[in-house]
Symmetry: C2
Subunit: 428 residues, 2 copies
């Protein structure tokens, strides 16, 4: 169990950028390979992103859905984890720049994922924070909990209500999940804890530009999701594109929604590493890869996960979800393992196996589709619960999350309602 | 279970500043009193400070040792929690300024505690962070974990070792606990996870200006604590006052200890609210209160907890520990309750009941004294474990902490090893 120095002389170098679902599964697929593998991430942890909204709404603590990358990969002796930020990729020289250090490679797997996008309205960012990292989640949690604290300090009824109005922009799964947990926070978790207002007077609105929620789902489930949200108390606005956001609210064309807290769940853009390659990109900034996920014209360079633009045989895009990233990581990892053994024959193209879609809405409310099967309400929620616990990485996390959820279910309480830092300045 | 508006007309007002052990126990003692009680804190949570070092060393998550004040006190209908920062106290006008709002009072309980102090060397603060709040703990955790990450990125052996050298300044219980958990982090938790060095090559030094560790304990136990720390691998320097601290290490007079990570556990100073009173202070800035904990010359104004300077009949000071703060809170709460009923007779003076002292050193290592009883090693550690779990506020937290500890005990792992934010800039 000691730490021998890396014996690196002459062994081929595989460099993996990003420790999300894609990068991690590529790395694991290469366990035991006779190669020198380096996994680079600018964070020290792998994040279970599908549950990030629960950190943002104070249901889970940050440490329950994240695990240190070097701990996950500690037994893989052919692999080094480095916490570095990629600043340039030089495909001609086959090396990657991380600030003051170059990393050379023989194979390169780029899995740096996606970030949020404001569709050309970056000026909205300070008023409508988005949810992509643990930092984002903790900052949203802070904003939401402090809004209720501000309402308790406010004497003017109209200004108080503005602190109790929440708007979630974007009706995809993150938006639906955020809106559902926010209304439960207001109606159940915080009930009875304030003296100057009833926390149930908080309003949560979910705003979607398109004609329906959960556009990737069957229209029947979109409709069920909407009805479940409305039953919980969320006001849903579809066909309502946002035209302006400021510190006091949101404009939907002529209509004004006053709200001190606006959350952004509407847009995703590919990581900036994509633009460093000089490869063809799609309009979301993702790299158009070959059918073996290779970057055209650069043997041994692959792009996987949310950064890859992959089209299915029926012409539809592979969605930017965790299972797709995992499958791509396994596919590329297996291909590199074969090439390390000198097997350079062309491989069958990557095929995405759709394992189904799941979105939770609230306590005992969810929607799910698996092939032709459609579920909603309690059965979908139970499936959602089991699937998410199962896929959480690490037994310890699974146990902690189960405990948190069981506790939250029986008591309507949330354990993670802690705001770091001190009281916000009073504003007018 | 609805939230009625506060019926405040005419009822006497009790204002409590601070939601630590002192303020919280005063508030609870006034449950059911026919008064209008306001508890003001600049944070939204009560913190179980005795375990803060475990958050700093990645053993516990922040949410396991903190609970929202308004949740703890939600059933106390005569009480309002406000998240405000106190900026001035006007004893003549009987009111407290919180930024743009005044709060009037009939009774005032000041329990704003203590903060850390650098004994006139505030220039050391950026190089040697101290541990008092959850923010402090999370920032120290980040520093410690990133030091190991920096070592993995560093090619020069001398510079790498500087990242693996840790110095803890101050041999009180916080310093002893920090040093003991740091060495376990290096020797056990992180073992086998780095490829460019052996994490057991990290060094942890504990530096104390006085002649022995744990000055408040029996000298026999000070000696046992030292030997237990040394057995774990900590190098202990007593009689070694720090003369300088910078980004690269610590000076003990002529001697230089190179270290990129220095933690400050040496000094405590009273909260600045004490200086707002115009009352006599001791040299640590604590308010010299009457024997009923009242501020001399100001009926109905009390100072409790770490901010109060209280002398025992034998001339020794009441220590700045959680049980003392709790006892003061109960004493003052009971006195105010009697005065609310019109009973203004003088009360017997406050008497501190010493419940004993406990400090943990590491896995199965601790020291404890209760009256004439002295314990060390495994028996002391078991007592420490039971006492701390018992006193943690909230059943949920108790369960989560037990789970974390059981897990850490069996696996040497720590669940909270997550650094938020991205890779630190490489420095030279």
């Amino acid at each position: 169990m000691s730490d021998p120095p890396v014996a690196d002389a002459g062994r081929p170098r595989v460099l993996i950028l990003g420790g999300g679902f894609g990068g991690l599964s590529a790395a694991r697929r290469l366990a035991g390979a006779d190669a020198q593998i380096t996994l680079v991430d600018r964070r020290n942890h792998h994040l279970f992103q599908p549950l990030l909204y629960q950190v943002a709404t104070a249901s889970l603590s940050a440490t329950s859905i994240a695990a240190p990358l070097r701990h996950i990969l500690r037994r893989q002796r052919n692999l080094t984890v480095l916490m570095e930020e990629v600043t340039a990729v030089d495909l001609a020289a086959r090396r990657v720049d991380c600030g003051s250090r170059w990393l050379d490679y023989d194979w390169l797997v780029i899995a740096t994922g996606a970030t949020h996008a404001y569709f050309g309205h970056d000026e909205w960012a300070p008023f409508a924070p988005a949810l992509k990292t643990l930092d984002d989640a903790q900052s949203i949690r802070r904003r939401v909990l402090l809004a209720f604290e501000q309402a308790e300090r406010e004497d003017d009824p109209e200004r108080r209500q503005a602190w109790l109005n929440f708007v979630v922009v974007g009706g995809g799964s993150t938006g639906v999940e955020l809106a559902g947990t926010l209304i439960e926070l207001a109606r159940h978790t915080l009930r009875g804890e304030f003296r100057h207002f009833d926390s149930r007077s908080a309003s949560v609105r979910l705003v979607e530009a398109g004609p329906r929620l959960l556009a990737g789902y069957d229209p029947v489930l979109s409709d069920k999701a909407r009805r479940q949200l409305e039953r919980l108390g969320v006001q849903v606005h579809t066909g309502a594109p946002v035209t302006a956001i400021d510190a006091a609210g949101v404009n939907l064309g002529e209509r004004r929604l006053p709200a001190r807290t606006v959350l952004w769940a509407a847009g995703v853009a590919a990581s900036s590493v994509g633009t460093m390659l000089g490869a063809p990109l799609d309009k979301a900034g993702r790299v158009r890869v070959d059918e073996d996920l290779g970057v055209p014209g650069h043997a041994g360079v692959f792009v996987i996960g949310d950064l890859a633009s992959v089209v299915r045989p029926d012409g539809s895009p592979v969605p930017g979800v965790a299972p797709a990233a995992k499958q791509m990581g396994e596919y590329v990892g297996a291909m590199i393992a074969r090439q390390l053994h000198g097997d350079d024959r062309p491989q069958p193209p990557f095929r995405y196996r759709d394992a189904g879609s799941l979105a939770t809405i609230g306590r005992m409310a969810a929607v799910a589709q698996f092939g032709k099967l459609r579920l909603s309400g309690l059965p979908a929620w139970i499936v959602w619960l089991l699937v998410h616990i199962y896929f959480l990485i690490g037994f310890r996390n699974r146990l902690a999350v189960m405990l948190d959820w069981a506790w939250a279910y029986w008591t309507h309480q949330r354990q993670a309602r802690i705001v770091s830092g001190t009281a916000p300045p009073r504003d007018d």
